[in-house]
Subunit: 231 residues, 2 copies
Amino acid sequence: MKNNSSLSCETCPLKDRAACKVLKQEERAQLSKIGHHLTVKRGETVFSAGDNNDISATLTSGALKISSFDSDGNEHILSLVHPAGFVGELFAPSAHHHIIALTDSQLCIFDRKRYEEAIERFPALAIALLQRTSDELHQSRNLIELIGQSASASISGLLLEFARAASHSPCHIADYFELPLSRGDIANLLGVKIETVSRIIRKFDRDGIIKLEGNRGVKICDQIALEGLTI
Amino acid sequence: MKNNSSLSCETCPLKDRAACKVLKQEERAQLSKIGHHLTVKRGETVFSAGDNNDISATLTSGALKISSFDSDGNEHILSLVHPAGFVGELFAPSAHHHIIALTDSQLCIFDRKRYEEAIERFPALAIALLQRTSDELHQSRNLIELIGQSASASISGLLLEFARAASHSPCHIADYFELPLSRGDIANLLGVKIETVSRIIRKFDRDGIIKLEGNRGVKICDQIALEGLTI
DNA sequence: CGAAAGGTTGAGTTCCGTCAAGTGTGGTGG
DNA sequence: CCACCACACTTGACGGAACTCAACCTTTCG
């Protein structure tokens, strides 16, 4: 975990996608003063449940997971975070979840209290975050729908979602993509066991619905069949 | 479903709890002009997925559920809404979920577009909704944790949540409460079958962990045991 | 009162978790 | 460059949890 002291928003590749895009140059300059860059390696925890909850952040590159651990130490993945995504539990006294890097990642870190002040100072930022949070709420509810199904239905649904995300076009899904998650992470996301994930994905492969290429590569062979499994 | 034409915010019992509490009297008067009351009966749908999504609302009394229906017609309950709660998918082109009354309810209905305009006009409202939405996101993630467990664990967790909600004190749970949901709704919320809910609740009763009183009444007899089941 | 809706219970089956033993695969260091 | 290790993934056998189907009971309401 490495800290670089200052933000350079002008050259930030996300300046048109992250919540801060709505700020004027002068406002963004003010915001950048209270933040700094952070680099984390795959597997590292960015911040933890039980922490003082004094941090919020925007992901600039890589990928994160938001997790909780039950009393038995089992991980539950609650959400995935992609570049331009915002993490941090605003207006809450303490953090409830763990933020863990899925791949080497870069973030803009802000002091949470000061970020909340910025929200009050810049109404456009409040609206941008409201949109982003509404969207995450929607995603979270999609995940609930996914989980509340049989194991093969939720896995097929997840594969389709990954294929959709990997596609550049909004109307077609990618016919090939790399799984962004390990079998174990998929299991923790869907609330099933790792063996079940393995078995079902292999079965899809054997049935010719998908074609596994290496550990992470997936080729969609029969999209209709995959969609038909969503029950 | 009955429409009363105008809002009367001055006498509203929620004027200090709903999102609109942050507005000044004059601002609230403006907002009230674009809204009206709606009365719905238990079981009625307030609005549906696929609708134009031109409505948002604040619940003033009663209770709602936010549901989706999968391709087989099975209902999945995504969230419960209590008085002062806000419903409506802001910034989205179409509604994805169904809003259904769990009990006879009253709402303040707003044209969604005009509510979004109000958000832009009144920064405090944006922040209030951001807080509320963050909170809902948090609740939604709690539900994900609950679902990702064995049936008896999620049911015991839900019972404890109901007991907590029914209590007036923040540090103790109520030792008696009425279930706010039918067995079927509990099943749809937790992603299990109605028979499973019935069997498990009955088993808790037989084991002396709870005592069922009528169809909806629940007395918590052994809170420790109930908490211990959360695995 | 009778119908409809909500709830309970049992028997049989299927799915998925558990446990255990494997097979890659990528990285490190000799 | 290869040997080795750690880690991720796969596979099988087995058992138990939850689903399905079906019947029955209870409460509510017209």
